[in-house]
């Protein structure tokens, strides 16, 4: 099912008299093609969960429209939208067995017992919990509960599957496993899926399309790699990538980008931004060690990862305490060097306006 979000806005009135109303989501416009896995990504309080609940029908928007295919569902009740929703804490009914939990939506649809059983079993098989059908939720691990919640959402064959922070309650190892699982289930079923996360790695790893949000405003929409390689503004550049991007205060002069007096790169030819202050973002993997390089960093220490090593250094123009650059482990660095020089890969360097923090291309 195709989802179209048009000028969606949600304003929560303030709790206290005279207080300020909270603009949870502002003028959101997204087109989600059918069968895609979409991640809503942003720090907490950015309105991503609110968006999800508006899609589910549990919250009603202040203004704007939501369309499933060409049907306007903005005012349609949650149960009539044909969605499956997985809650952050799963919200499994503790007094029902796994089977009863999965069957619950079917029972409400008054589906016959035999058919209901068969469908419940199918859904359980899909998430590989068919052996646990007679257990109660509190006898399951977090990962198993998560699967039950997904099975319960899938059993009514929804047009849209919505997941609220699906991995946040799992431990690190299970998280890796489960996100692949979600991807697999989404592929098998082909259901248009929207999920919410604050973990950029999680979003990057499984999304077809990623929506980066900040304070209720969409910052950028696109494929994960595209957003990573071509961020719209400083926030997006900063939010994506582990380790995070290095940000320096710099300026442009004579067609070159300067950081602390060193010309590290060519300024984008087309931009015509001469002689102005900029933020320079350089991805950690954008550094090439070169004894004659253009950019000098004072080394603090070197962390060896095995596959690569990361040089942790300091620079007076950096906006963060340390600068991290990742170098291939087969590049030999001079031992005990106090400073190292690097060349910068031009496509790993981004310029942002010092005032608006918008990208200068």
């Amino acid at each position: 099912m195709r989802i179209s979000i048009q000028h969606l806005t949600k304003i929560f009135p303030s709790r206290t008299k005279g207080g300020e109303a909270v603009h949870a989501v502002e003028d959101m416009n997204i087109e989600i093609p059918s069968g895609q896995l979409v991640g809503l990504l942003g720090p907490s309080g950015c309105g991503k969960s609110t968006t999800l609940f508006m899609l589910s029908g549990l919250e009603s928007p202040t203004s704007g429209k939501i369309l499933f295919d060409d049907q306007d569902v903005t005012t349609l009740a949650a149960e009539k939208r044909g969605i499956g929703l997985v809650f952050q804490n799963y919200a499994l009914y503790p007094h029902m067995t796994v089977e009863q939990n999965i069957r619950f939506p079917l029972d409400n649809m008054r589906i016959k017992k035999e058919e209901g059983n068969a469908r419940a079993l199918d859904a359980a098989r899909l998430v590989q919990i068919e052996d646990l059908m007679s257990r109660k939720p509190n006898e399951l691990s977090g990962g198993q509960q998560q699967r039950v919640a997904i099975a319960r959402a899938l059993v009514k064959m929804p047009n849209v599957l919505l997941l609220d922070e699906p991995l946040s309650n799992l431990d690190a190892r299970l998280r890796l496993q489960t996100r692949e699982e979600i991807k697999r289930i989404q592929r098998t079923t082909g259901i248009t899926t929207v999920f919410v996360t604050h973990d950029q790695e999680e979003a990057m790893s499984i999304c077809d399309t990623m929506v980066v949000m900040k304070l209720g405003v969409v910052q950028q929409i696109g494929a994960p790699q595209d957003i990573y390689d071509d961020p719209n503004n400083l926030f997006v550049a900063n939010f994506l990538g582990t380790p995070p991007i290095n940000i320096f205060k710099g300026y442009t002069e004579g067609g070159k980008v300067y950081i602390g007096g060193e010309a590290v790169a060519e300024a984008p030819a087309s931009c015509g931004y001469e002689n102005r202050e900029v933020y320079v973002g350089i991805r950690p993997e954008g550094f090439i060690y070169d004894a004659e390089g253009a950019f000098t960093l004072r080394v603090d220490h070197i962390e060896v990862m095995g596959r690569d090593k990361s040089v942790v250094s300091v620079h007076e123009c950096s906006t963060k305490p340390t600068v991290r650059s990742i170098i291939d482990s087969d590049v030999m660095l001079p031992p005990d060097a106090e400073t190292l020089r690097f060349n910068i890969k031009p496509y790993k360097l981004f310029l942002f306006d010092a005032e608006t923090e918008e990208r200068l291309r």
Binding site: L58, E79, I83, A91, Y93, M96, F104
Partner: protein, 369 residues
């Protein structure tokens, strides 16, 4: 009593535990007894005084429970034992303290209703009590559940309603019973010209002739020796339900408020109707509270008395036809026939025990998840 003993045991053990070598002992060095050095508390050389002090401390738990033990012995254990013994003393004379041999005579006469005193009939009282309890307690719990759900779903004047529903709880049972009686009363003889209570006035609007709900002409059915005063039953049940509501609403409402809202969101997405939500989500989630109310309600119902007196006066209706089990006991104590009262109380005790046991069996099954 078992609980008491356990508490004593744990209290007594605490000082000994502190002397075991371990983290506790090491960190509590400064608190260690003066005799030892604190580091080697298991050391063999303890002074006599220290050993005495420790011995005393290990027994000090007893000291703390002694006042309670004495009070319970005087006011609980002695009466229980005395009642037990007394119930087997035939034809006990309160004036002389003499009795005519041991046996089951009291029990047989109580159950047969052959007491020869004109007092209440035991079987009548038992039937009344069971009937009233097993109708009014489930009914008021169900009503409380529905009211709590309604209360939970309104936002604006919730606090006001909460207060209104709780008010009866603060009112005395006798006073409420008396007020209820006036609602249902007919003053004078029951013919159409007499002054009638508000209930009969309202019934009159629907063309129903006044019924003497609580008085001497109250309608009833006769089942062999047994009297079924249905009009009085209705009044009593209405009263019991109404007076039982506040506490039940309080418990159920607060239990409902602690249910995570996400369950309701999930149910909504899953397309559950309000009815389904109530019976498949809300009710099971507050099952511990519901069963608590049923158990305590039934126990309380088995011991009801003051409400009956409030409604029907000291004679509990006509010839004790609204008598209850506890009413029976008071009746026979009042008549100086303590032997029958003792026997009746033992039977009541056994019945309550059986009901509680059944209750436990059911609720254990239903509330564990």
């Amino acid at each position: 009593m078992m609980e008491e003993k356990e508490t004593v045991a744990t209290l007594a053990e605490t000082p000994k535990e502190r002397n075991k070598p371990g983290l506790g002992a090491r960190f509590k060095r400064e608190k260690a007894p003066a005799g030892g050095d604190g580091l080697t508390p298991e050391g063999p050389t303890l002074s006599r005084g220290e050993r005495f002090r420790r011995g005393l401390r290990s027994q000090s738990g007893w000291l703390f429970v002694t006042p309670a033990l004495i009070l319970m012995a005087v006011f609980t254990f002695y009466p229980i034992i005395a009642a037990f013994v007394g119930s087997f003393q035939q034809q006990y004379n309160g004036m002389t303290g003499t009795f005519n041999g041991w046996g089951f005579d009291n029990f047989i006469r109580v159950l047969k209703g052959d007491t020869g005193t004109g007092g209440a009939n035991f079987v009548q009282c038992l039937v009344n009590t069971l009937l009233l309890t097993f109708v009014s307690v489930p009914l008021s719990t169900l009503l409380a559940l529905l009211i709590s759900v309604a209360l939970n779903s309104i936002k604006r004047v919730q606090k006001l309603y909460q207060t209104v529903f709780f008010l009866p709880y603060l009112t005395n049972a006798l006073a409420m019973g008396a007020v209820f009686a006036t609602f249902f009363k007919i003053i004078g003889t029951p013919n159409n010209t007499d002054t009638v209570g508000i209930v009969n006035i309202v019934l009159g609007w629907f063309g129903i002739k006044p019924i003497d709900w609580v008085g001497l002409q109250s309608p009833h059915w006769q089942l062999g020796k047994l009297n079924i005063p249905w009009a009085k039953y209705i009044v009593t049940i209405i009263y019991e339900v109404w007076s039982g509501l506040p506490f039940k609403i309080l418990i159920l409402f607060s239990a409902m408020q602690s249910i995570n809202k996400q369950y309701y969101d999930a149910a909504k997405v899953d397309g559950a109707s309000r009815w389904t939500v109530l019976w498949h989500i809300t009710a099971p989630m507050i099952m511990p509270q519901i069963s608590y109310l049923l158990v305590t309600g039934i126990m309380g119902g088995m011991k009801q008395y003051s409400a009956i007196v409030g409604l029907f006066g000291e004679t509990m209706g006509m010839n004790y036809d609204m008598g209850t089990m506890v009413g029976y006991l008071y009746n026979y104590i009042g008549l100086g026939q303590t032997g029958y009262a003792y026997a009746g109380s033992l039977i009541l005790f056994v019945i309550i025990m059986i009901i509680t046991w059944i209750n436990n069996l059911i609720t254990k099954k239903r509330t564990t998840y």
